[in-house]
Symmetry: C3
Subunit: 327 residues, 3 copies
């Protein structure tokens, strides 16, 4: 894993997973994101760092919201952005995924932001990418969603300062969550000493303890004394089926409400990736309450994505010969 | 109404409706549009006024043509533009519309151009928008479509000079038309002394006279001596149903043809918002005839939208602290 | 044909077909493309030639890949690009195609890149375009696809140097191929002395010899001694129907495999427009083999499209009065 994400000088070349990045590089990403935060807060929200470079949003899974965050990040770095929504049916076989890659990189693209329903799709792209072409994983199957985990770590560091004393609870559908996996890898490497996963048995991977987390099936016990609660998104279509009771029952047991909040630390914070699912896993009052960091996560998401893009592509305009290697 | 559209200095902050804007501000918009008209006529059709600002086209109703006019206007002001087509089904409740707003403005967006099938959607956005975020209504339900009304007023002023002596007839589906409402408010405030609405009873609101217009159900009488004929678009799906006779019958009674044109003033002009509906409400010969202003309306639409965007956002690059208030 | 594509000084005004362009102008296009090739190979892949000009990709036929190549070319010339995907059903009649043209050019667009399922659509646009508006044909029905033919000629000239000694075989569905027609016209005008078409009778136009090509129904004979093999794309939906045997039978007779390759010249090259159709008309090994120019065609496609756009629009920023003629 580590090799393919880094170049021969140990610098970031692709971003596929938070696993194995290591504390130093993770910290460098967060520090770089810190430097981009003021950019998006000023009137001219633009720096010329990636001018004339081409970023392709290649989305095999539709997600307007996520695509938008990468598009904004790239545009605020002055890159040219191309959005391609590809029907997964058109590229079911590995070979044709390769054809897509080969064709697009023949157009002298600099970076692919790829989202795909199959775990490993981003690695496949990175393995076959030409020397000058970078891959940024925007979510692959149940595997990884590294920029989401990075923006969570960034938000947590800004809110809490020191990560090495925090107790974190991740609540919800751990089994299907690429976000949870990426969070656990990033937070552990950044020194978070205690991570708990809180979920019904049916929504936990069988070997979840091997990730170095504690397991709880009870919301009250799971949240007891934690400093951070991360609520995962729950797919409604999984409700009332084999894996789960009905929506109301689930919300009563694992929903985040003012009542369930009483268990955590009094200055505990609440985070949540992606769009809000009112009444499914989080109460509206809590979602926009004073302890919620949800909207700050969105703002930070742009800065973190800018940071990753800039770390990978940003040295090219200064050192054009790096890129010249390609053809 | 007035308060929310203006800032504490009486300057345009949002554009939601033409109602209550007042003659002075309406005139300022038209004058500003006048200054942008040469921009789109030169080879480099671009000014750097909104460089580094982000405009989001948030369309809950699909309309490629309308979206294009706002996209062009924003790009010609050098803004970064994001197009988001959102399925209305995804956001049926007011709360989730709020989630969309909160999430997008957390991405440090500067302006929403919003089109929505529900009357009041743009106001809802404006009421909940953060201090630095502006809302431009691109059509909400049957309520308002202010930029269309402004470009019509602009086109009329350019063609006729003095608006205070004109007799205007608006023909067609007044009942369902957000355009007609916005036109009536704008033209009355700009001093047009006589506005007639010409339509069958079934396509008129019951209290239409309260808008200060005269009502006619007969095309010949309605167009008698008018200087301006504005033809509204008629939805084909309403034809031959409860509200309307068949298409041919409607066209015979309310269609604009060389014959029905004989009633108006000899130098009368013809206008029409949006795409042409040949043979439904306007004869092709008339639509592209020498008295038609239809294509000029399209050209002016870009200038008017640039004017509104520039008036709302254009001072930020010069005074960055205005924007800094937000977070 | 010739007149409408050229202005009064014999310079390119529209690009609709390669037919009748003549060797001098074709060569000028290829030479201009040569000058753009280094642009896309450097870190800042952008020149300010079309800054402030507006290019509209108006696609009545969906084709993400093709649209992308034009979008990239225009963006690398610094133009503003608008993508419009139009349902063909919305504009079935010639009149409404005219409405689309009239409305969009009233928005002060500089160039339409148009793809349409009807032969002649691009010519129709060019005939009715305003003085300052250019039309670039991105494929119309079975008629023409000139930029594809030009990038093929460009790729061939780079690979082989002298075109006047080459034997070229075009293999596959000539009957439905706008690409084949455009290739034949371009290559003949550029001096290619021998062009063969290789296909079953059912996939050849009845009068194909009038194009100045030799006909073969046998792959081995058709490829005998050729320097260039161009494989056309075959629509799977035509397989196993009236025109064709099943896919396997077709591939056995007309597919390009290491075996069928033995007939051609030992330094023969292989080309193929558009996306790869593995196992339908070309073996994967051959497609990415050392004699394949397929990926170079993609790269050259951007440079050729930049060249055509720059030749048509590039003098405007220097001579703004040229454009001023319009309104």
């Amino acid at each position: 894993m580590k090799d393919i994400q880094l170049d021969e000088n140990g610098r970031l070349r692709h971003l596929l997973t938070t696993e194995g990045l290591g504390r130093e590089l993770l910290t460098e990403i967060l520090d770089t994101a810190e430097s981009f935060l003021p950019v998006t807060d000023q009137a001219v929200k633009k720096v010329p760092l990636l001018r004339g470079q081409t970023v392709v949003n290649l989305f095999f899974e539709a997600s307007t919201r996520t695509r938008t965050t990468f598009e904004l990040a790239a545009k605020r770095l002055s890159a040219d952005v191309l959005n391609m929504q590809v029907a997964a049916s058109a590229t079911t076989k590995g070979e044709t995924l390769l054809d897509t890659l080969e064709t697009l990189q023949a157009m002298q693209v600099d970076m692919f932001v790829i989202r795909h329903q199959s775990s490993g799709a981003a690695h496949f792209f990175a393995q076959h990418a030409a020397p000058g072409v970078a891959v940024l994983n925007a979510g692959d199957g149940r595997h990884a969603h590294p920029t989401q985990a990075l923006l969570d770590a960034f938000t947590l560091r800004r809110a809490k300062g020191d990560l090495t004393r925090l107790r974190v609870a991740i609540v919800g559908d751990i089994l299907h969550s690429r976000v949870a996996r990426s969070q656990i890898h990033a937070l552990k490497d950044l020194g978070v000493p205690e991570i708990r996963v809180v979920a019904p048995r049916t929504l936990l991977p069988v070997d979840v303890e091997t990730l170095g987390v504690q397991v709880s099936h009870d919301m009250r016990a799971g949240l007891d004394g934690v400093d951070v609660i991360i609520m995962l998104r729950l797919q409604r279509e999984r409700m009332g089926g084999e894996l789960l009771p009905t929506g109301e029952e689930y919300f009563q047991r694992y929903g985040l409400t003012p009542a369930s909040l009483r268990a955590d630390s009094p200055d505990g914070v609440i985070m949540r990736p992606g769009p809000i699912n009112r009444g499914v896993e989080i109460d509206s009052q809590v979602a926009y309450g004073e302890r919620s960091l949800i909207l700050r996560q969105v703002t930070h998401g742009i800065a973190v994505r800018m940071a990753v893009m800039a770390m990978i592509l940003g040295t090219r305009n200064a050192n054009p010969e790096v890129h010249g290697e390609r053809s």
